[in-house]
Symmetry: C2
Subunit: 277 residues, 2 copies
């Protein structure tokens, strides 16, 4: 019987020194939908690899995603007390331990990649790309745009797209690139990058839609954007426009997948899951 | 005329997207004594390399050190408003941008190592070791011990040593190991590890001594340990005992250096500078 990704995560955490710090890390990483890991798995399965081949890369990426969620929720950021239907990490463990758990998750992610079973060159590419896409060329920069946005940005669809490409799209890009490196196919970079932008945007637009059309009980988190006077798709689009945008992006993604440099049946299934979430 | 490490840092930052985020990163990294970089330089010069050969590794390590200082000073940690004679980063830029700058420094460090000019295997070793020593096997774990210490720890010299080995010694160990990997000498691991522990301890004992015997104007930082009821060497040793410990550690270091697997004249000079600081 094959090991699940969830079992792999728990095995890895069981190998860390027990205590409140690893408990808080585990708390933060638990309960995720694993969309970024699933993207890696879908790409490599399309090349004939097993899901398990993607576990180390997927765990590293999920750790980086989890670190960002811990910090996004902290009082000096969005100040959200609910995440995935349970108290945010800083509410459950205190701000100091939550911050250290986020640091440990980010730091550990790079070590996992460095010691993963992939080719040395593939590992170095993944580490360099993750550093860029999670940092100054991606997520951290997007979060910086988010916390420093002025009211002008709320009137500008292009600026909002840019912000969301950095903040959300970048880690989706990392996922597709990780799959690409594991499969050893680095001749189609523009395909992966273009697809990642579309998946990141549609994911973010869906989140914005859910924030406004679903209750915190349904989404498992509080909606702080309105309270914090942040731009979301809803300050720029009507619900109808938003639904249209989402549908149009899914069409673009389908077209991309029809021309994928690998068997895209696994990715099509994942996109269908995303469409129905 | 050769480039200085300081010029190399400024050149690197000039290549990043301008704005408040990189400004805050640069603010946090500026004004340091560069003891960790100097350790790398001293080791590789002892093997016949140029200081410049160590610049990428040294910058990565100094970035990780700087990220830790930003977070140490934040209100949810030590809540210190003065660092290196100027306002702490969160005082100068706000907590949100300070936190993002710390994230960007940590994240960027791993990318710099991944794209550095060293052998692929050396780069992967440095990334894996930095992940361990800055994370769960070192600095973050030490900071966790620090924020969760109870009053019993203040009565226990062994516990304080352990805390400081993790919190401070680990990055000194990373510095010596980086020098070792750059020089291609990985046959003497115990030598570097043993030396790092001693250098880390003496450095921390000196800091504790300065906190009590020097003014904030002289040290450039406020002393929050007493206010935060934290254990320091001073809660366990008299000033006389502390000075004796420091002298005895410097003697041990001298003995180590006499048996170094490289020409230790550069390291001796650096240790002399540390002794006189």
């Amino acid at each position: 019987m094959k090991k699940s990704f969830e079992e792999y995560i728990q095995e890895t955490f069981a190998s860390y020194r027990p205590g409140k710090l690893t408990e808080a890390m585990n708390y933060a990483i638990s309960g995720g939908a694993h969309f970024r890991p699933e993207l890696i798995f879908a790409v490599i399965k399309g090349f004939g690899f097993d899901e398990e081949d993607g576990f180390p890369a997927a765990l590293a990426l999920e750790m980086v995603h989890s670190y960002s969620l811990i910090q996004d929720d902290m009082p000096c950021m969005d100040n959200d007390e609910l995440r995935r239907g349970k108290p945010s990490t800083h509410v459950a463990y205190g701000e100091d331990i939550a911050l250290l758990a986020s640091d440990a998750l980010l730091t550990q992610a790079f070590g996992i990649l460095a010691e993963s079973p992939y080719d040395a060159e593939a590992r170095l590419h993944m580490i360099a790309d993750l550093s860029h896409l999670a940092g100054l060329g991606g997520m951290v920069y997007g979060q910086f745009l988010d916390v420093t946005q002025d009211s002008a940005a709320m009137q500008d669809r292009e600026a909002l797209n840019t912000l969301e490409d950095y903040k959300t799209g970048a880690l989706f890009e990392a996922a597709l690139l990780f799959g690409m490196y594991i499969a050893g196919d680095d001749s189609n970079m523009p395909f992966y990058e273009g697809l990642a932008v579309k998946i990141g945007r549609v994911f973010q637009l869906q989140d914005d839609l859910f924030d406004l059309t679903r209750t915190p009980e349904e989404t498992g988190k509080t909606n702080s954007d309105e309270r914090n006077n942040k731009a979301t798709a809803f300050s720029l689009y009507t619900e109808e426009e938003l639904r249209q945008q989402i549908a149009s992006l899914f069409e673009d993604i389908d077209r991309d997948l029809a021309n994928a440099p690998f068997d895209s049946v696994f990715l099509q299934k994942l996109i269908a899951r995303m469409r129905d979430r």
